[in-house]
Symmetry: C2
Subunit: 266 residues, 2 copies
């Protein structure tokens, strides 16, 4: 079993990824998790409701999500991106089925409606934020589909215990999915060559990271990369044998990552 998390950047080579997945699926069951932040941002802009980013007291940025932002997310992630991805896999002969974390309660999240944010050096409480942290994966639905010969293609949002739709981090969910299914490998593809010591200098690519080196490697990861590093730790500690970071813009994003052209965590 291989779980692949494809980032939501506009530069991701979906056709190349679909071609790679069609080959990989001949050898291993595949689960694809994906983002859609570039599509979401473009839609939000076009609708005159630009994405609102908030910063936690400790300096972590996140997207503030009200009902309208959630609708935009549903449209960009579960609508356009998810179904375009499914169609591109279908075109390569993979019998893909697209789902979001709400379907079959695939991604069960703990809601965190009231959050502390820092604005102009003041900390204040922001209410009604429809986000959460994925804590449980309904692997039953995934196993049912995998045993039926389908390739699950999964995206945000998630669902809370109170059965509300909540925005949630897909990197964490991908790591939990790999754990829940006992996957042997987890692959993160995004718009960078891998883990970089300096995000502006591709030549600072870190090729290999052992479990003992995780803390050191996590220290220079920022923003989205820091969330991926938490996913890496979760996955390795839970028994996933190897986690790969790779460049999603590559002609063959998956095979290139598995060949070690990005960062390999063991």
């Amino acid at each position: 079993m291989i779980v692949v998390k494809a980032g939501g950047g506009a530069g991701l080579n979906w056709d190349g990824l679909a071609a790679d997945l069609a080959v990989a699926a001949a050898f291993k069951p595949i689960v694809l998790v994906h983002g859609a932040h570039s599509g979401r941002d473009a839609l939000a802009e076009a609708l005159g409701r630009p994405v609102r980013t908030v910063t936690s007291p400790s300096g972590v940025d996140s997207v503030y999500t009200d009902e309208q932002a959630l609708d935009i997310m549903l449209m960009a992630y579960a609508g356009a991106a998810n179904k375009r991805a499914v169609a591109s896999l279908q075109a390569r002969g993979l019998n893909a089925v697209g789902l979001c974390g709400i379907d079959g309660r695939l991604w069960e999240a703990r809601a965190k409606k009231d959050i502390l944010v820092r604005e102009n050096d003041k900390v204040k409480l922001l209410r009604g934020n429809l986000t959460g942290r994925v804590e449980r994966i309904n692997t039953g639905l995934l196993r049912l589909l995998l045993e039926g010969g389908y390739v699950p293609v999964i995206t945000a949002p998630a669902i809370s215990a109170g059965r509300e739709i909540v925005n949630a981090d897909a990197d964490t969910a991908a790591a939990l999915t790999a754990l829940g299914l006992g996957a042997e490998a987890l692959v993160f593809l995004f718009e960078a060559p891998g883990l970089l010591r300096d995000p502006d200098r591709p030549e600072t690519l870190v090729r290999e990271v052992s479990r003992g080196e995780l803390d050191g490697a996590a220290a220079f990861a920022r923003g989205r990369m820091a969330k991926k590093m938490m996913g890496v730790r979760k996955a390795l500690e839970g028994g996933v044998r190897a986690v790969y970071f790779g460049d999603g813009r590559d002609a063959h994003p998956l095979s290139s990552a598995l060949a070690g052209n990005g960062t390999v965590f063991r």
Copy 2:
């Protein structure tokens, strides 16, 4: 097995429908098919790309669908409407799974890219229309989900034999789904009391239609209602015992329709 097709009008009572479905699911397996035309129209308008309607030489209106219109459709149907419907069923305790016709090639359609349209009394050929007619339902995926205890929630678009995304009529697909699954009942819910002899006069509601009366009843159905009547004919001829038309705006849309408050076809 009951297949329910809920229309995509803004007035549909989704909460009431979810409550009805939660009761019905205790007795029979349920498949929900739904539209989203009001959401699609609103999104298209907000994005400055209003829906373009074309008229066939014989006078039948349809929506012209290019790649951009398809993206809007994916967002409104498979994104917002589908996942909001799934969440409303989940909130009632039903383990719903949302799909569109692309997923698992659920709705296989014959593409009809080049169509004849009438414009200003001239007939011309319009190319690149991404629509199709659903001809085959992948009941295997539906049976897999139903046997796993899930409630499939399905919407457009469909997928062509060439693996392209195509817009397709959900009423026909709902009828074929009922046939393919051997459903005993098919229920169409929309923004009218049922089949009306005069669409402007609710008091002209037709209460019952036998198979022998189908031709006569179809004669006064126009537009969307004409497509539903073709679905009714397909379903009854294929062995579905009863088809119901009901008012989706009702406090209890499904139970009211099944109680015969709209139109019953046997």
